[in-house]
């Protein structure tokens, strides 16, 4: 069975691009519109990878990552966050919160899929 990925982003266009890229690579994708939605969906389902934006309304990506890492069920689930080239500080905070890795905007489908493959392993 193909890996199931949860994408969390408040931007519909980014969600769509991510989804197109990931489903195109054969992954199954579920979308969430902000951190809170992402947290609820992550807790309700079984995901092999979570790809999340950081700057979002309702609950930002940092808080979502922290909350997920506190639950035993989500320990070890790879979490990739989206960041921009200028967000070094945010990057270290997200890593401290328990993120696995990141991808820098703008990214293309190939880069995203490459990173998904990397953290998902074989």
């Amino acid at each position: 069975m193909s890996a199931h990925i949860l994408t969390v982003d408040d931007s519909a266009s980014i969600r769509m691009t991510t989804k197109i890229a990931l489903t195109g690579a054969g992954y199954q994708v579920t979308e969430a519109v902000d951190g809170l939605d992402g947290l609820n969906k992550a807790k309700a389902g079984q995901f092999d990878l979570i790809v999340t934006d950081l700057n979002m309304p309702n609950m930002n990506g940092l808080s979502m990552i922290e909350a997920l890492r506190k639950s035993a069920a989500h320990m070890g689930v790879p979490i990739i966050f989206l960041t921009t080239e200028s967000d070094a500080d945010m990057k270290s905070r997200a890593k401290a919160a328990g993120a696995t890795g990141w991808i820098t905007k703008p990214f293309d489908a190939e880069q995203l899929v490459k990173i998904a493959k990397k953290v998902l392993g074989k």
């Binding site: 931007s11 820098t104 990214f107």
Partner: protein, 670 residues
């Protein structure tokens, strides 16, 4: 038809972000220290930049970056939010819209000019005041150095929490193995005894000997996400590699630019997030076409249901009747629910006017306060869209003609600040939108002079005050003063009136000299369903919107014969022109023995429609005419009857106009 083009989705999203940013900026003008709003504006700019760069809007991303930076500084309390900064970002936002709509246009000059203004307002050194539409740096895409097969000894140890944080060390080993051939040795020396072992912790280190034709960069790439926190030594086993490789990887590290919410403001900001978020989470976005499709299906269901009811009514089967009644109730409820789905709060329309008034105030030098009331009143989406332009014109008019300059206001004992009040409320099946100002009111003398000059009225013609005011809605009416920069563009008052009437609405004006004017629009809540009067003309069925029907009469044979040639009927001492629909539609059938006349009106003007038979009232799901029938003016739409036949819906405005022309024509002929 849902768009699956991400760029199109981005454009839609950008439009929403612009609205969010604009609302925030205008809110800020009221309270420059509101941290939640500052955060919201920042977030909007941030998302715009990020998504813009994703979809190739590089100029937009680069430009927005500067606005974002300015707001980031505000957000962190490094610079205060000022009215100048807000104005500069508002101006910059218009430019961003242009960058979204024509990303390939020549925007450089405008970009630089706006950035200079922005940076002046944000108190930044002007050294940054150039923006180049250069693509943002792409993510690290390291080129492996082509130095041939080499041997590396790699010793690494990941942080203890690496596995808990989602890094799979076996995956890393697999990746290393893909680079070439390798031997792996695990270092288990630091693994604790079983009683102290935390299963999610990682205590193993590895040493690999790797023979690869890839460079050091490829190895670093494997560890990219854990590089900063891990122990990693890579030594070359074969001849020494160029030392440049290591420096290169250091240089690739991102430049540190802080972008973190000030901690002290965090609770407030989060509370605001929750508030905004709650609003968003309640909404599901559905393309309008899907709603229209659903509406069509519901309409067809209602029709099928009425056929079922007819069948059941003529059947003796009690069970069939019971089911039929259930279906009738359910489809009625479904239709009502459907109506509500199409409703959107009028506040989304009012929001735009804050910006308009802000700009108008700047252009005219008047001090204006816009008040809005009843933003939560809900109206059919189509109505909102079509009302936007007329309302813009009305608000412009109020500001341009109605409100006086501050000194004139003070001189006449008014407050310096002129007020424009936009309000909406529901009344029965209608929504009433009013635009009210406390300006000088309509200048009657000027209206009369202009109307006489343009031949709309006879010199010295007696008119009631209301008739005089209504003149401003006449086509071709515009006072000389009206052609200013503001009101001169866009639509005229006659177009406003036409639009409102096309929505089956009524426009009214009241004005008190020296005290102000009030224009009210009464619009039906929905366009999709009307109560109609079903009539028969010849062998065809037609629907007349019930809201326009004043009364129904019998047209006696004598009246019919007497009025041959001049189609007027005397109705309570008023002459009312009438149209014989049988002749208008050329049915080619003889008239019924007892013809009926339906008197319809559009407020002031009336016209009678002669039909063969009045069948009764009929709630109608309106279907618009096909494109082929786009030019048909007599009918505004069509509907399907219970027996499956089609009935056309008469366009009241048009028919009244035809009747009035006939009257004018006959009067002129004497």
């Amino acid at each position: 038809m849902t768009s699956l083009d991400p760029i199109q989705v981005f454009r839609t999203e950008a439009a929403e972000l612009f609205e969010q940013i604009e609302t925030g900026l205008l809110d800020l003008l009221n309270d420059l220290s509101d941290q939640a709003t500052i955060d919201a504006v920042f977030r909007g700019l941030h998302t715009l930049k990020g998504s813009g760069s994703m979809f190739g809007f590089e100029a937009l991303a680069a430009f927005t970056h500067h606005c974002e930076t300015a707001f980031d500084r505000v957000r962190k309390g490094q610079v205060p939010a000022t009215a100048e900064l807000v104005a500069a970002v508002l101006d910059a936002q218009d430019h961003m819209k242009a960058l979204v709509s024509t990303p390939n246009g020549d925007h450089e000059e405008a970009s630089n000019r706006l950035l200079a203004a922005l940076q002046a307002a944000a108190g930044e050194p002007s050294a940054h005041a150039t923006v180049v539409a250069a693509p943002l740096p792409k993510a690290v895409a390291a080129e492996p150095s082509k130095t041939g097969g080499k041997g590396f000894r790699i010793t690494f140890r990941l942080p203890v929490n690496a596995m808990a944080n989602g890094t799979n060390p076996l995956g890393l080993l697999d990746e290393l193995q893909e680079l070439g051939s390798c031997t792996v040795k695990a270092d288990l020396s630091t693994v604790p005894t079983l009683d102290a072992l935390e299963p999610t912790d990682l205590h193993i280190g590895w040493t690999l000997d790797l023979i690869t034709d890839k460079g050091r960069d490829a190895i670093d790439d494997v560890f990219i996400f854990v590089m900063d926190d891990m122990e990693l030594t890579v030594t070359e086993l074969a001849p020494p590699a160029p030392a440049a490789a290591q420096e290169a990887s250091a240089a690739a590290a991102p430049a540190p630019v802080a972008e973190v919410a000030a901690k002290a403001d965090a609770p407030k900001a989060q509370a605001a997030d929750a508030k905004h978020g709650a609003k968003q989470a309640e909404n599901v976005r559905v393309p309008a076409e899907r709603l229209d499709e659903l509406m069509d299906r519901v309409g067809e269901l209602v029709i099928a249901q009425s056929r079922l009811s007819q069948l059941a009514g003529s059947s003796a089967d009690i069970h069939l009747r019971a089911v039929s009644e259930d279906v009738e109730r359910l489809s009625g409820e479904l239709r009502d629910t459907m109506m509500v789905l199409r409703m959107v709060p009028v506040g989304s329309l009012f929001g735009r006017f804050r910006r308009l008034v802000h700009d108008l105030a700047r252009e005219t030098g008047k001090v204006i306060e816009l008040e809005t009331e009843g933003e939560t009143t809900e109206v059919d989406k189509t109505v909102i869209e079509r009302l936007a332009d007329p309302l813009v014109h009305l608000v412009r008019n109020s500001v341009d003609h109605g409100l006086e300059p501050p000194d004139e206001r003070v001189a006449s004992g008014k407050e310096k600040t002129g007020r424009v009040i936009l309000s909406a409320r529901q009344s029965g099946g209608e929504v009433i939108i009013t635009i009210k100002d406390d300006g000088r009111g309509v200048n009657r003398e000027r209206v009369r002079a202009k109307a006489e000059a343009s031949g709309l009225i006879q010199p010295g013609q007696m008119l009631t005050d209301q008739e005089l005011l209504q003149l401003i809605f006449q086509p071709g009416f515009s006072t000389a003063a009206q052609v200013t920069n503001l009101s001169g563009r866009g639509v005229g008052m006659d177009v406003v009136k036409k639009t409102v009437e096309a929505l089956r609405g009524i426009i009214d004006i009241r004005s008190e000299p020296g005290r102000g004017s009030e224009i009210s629009l009464r619009i039906p809540l929905t366009l999709a369903i009307i109560d109609g009067l079903l009539v028969r003309v010849g062998s065809g069925s037609y629907v007349i919107p019930l809201s326009a029907v004043e009364e129904c009469l019998e047209l006696s044979l004598e009246d019919d014969l007497r009025s041959r040639g001049r189609s007027f009927i005397s109705l309570r001492d008023n002459l009312v022109p009438f149209l014989r629909l049988r002749e208008l539609f050329e049915t080619g059938t003889p008239p019924d023995r007892y013809q009926k006349m339906v008197v319809i009106s559009t407020g002031d003007e009336r016209v009678g429609l002669v039909v063969d038979q009045i069948i009764g009232d009929h709630q109608t799901v309106i279907k618009s005419m096909s494109k082929l029938h786009h030019d048909v003016v007599t009918f505004s739409g069509a509907t399907i009857l219970g027996d499956g036949n089609v009935a056309l819906i008469l366009d009241v405005t048009h028919l009244v106009a035809v009747g009035q022309q006939q009257e004018a024509h006959l009067r002129a002929a004497g």
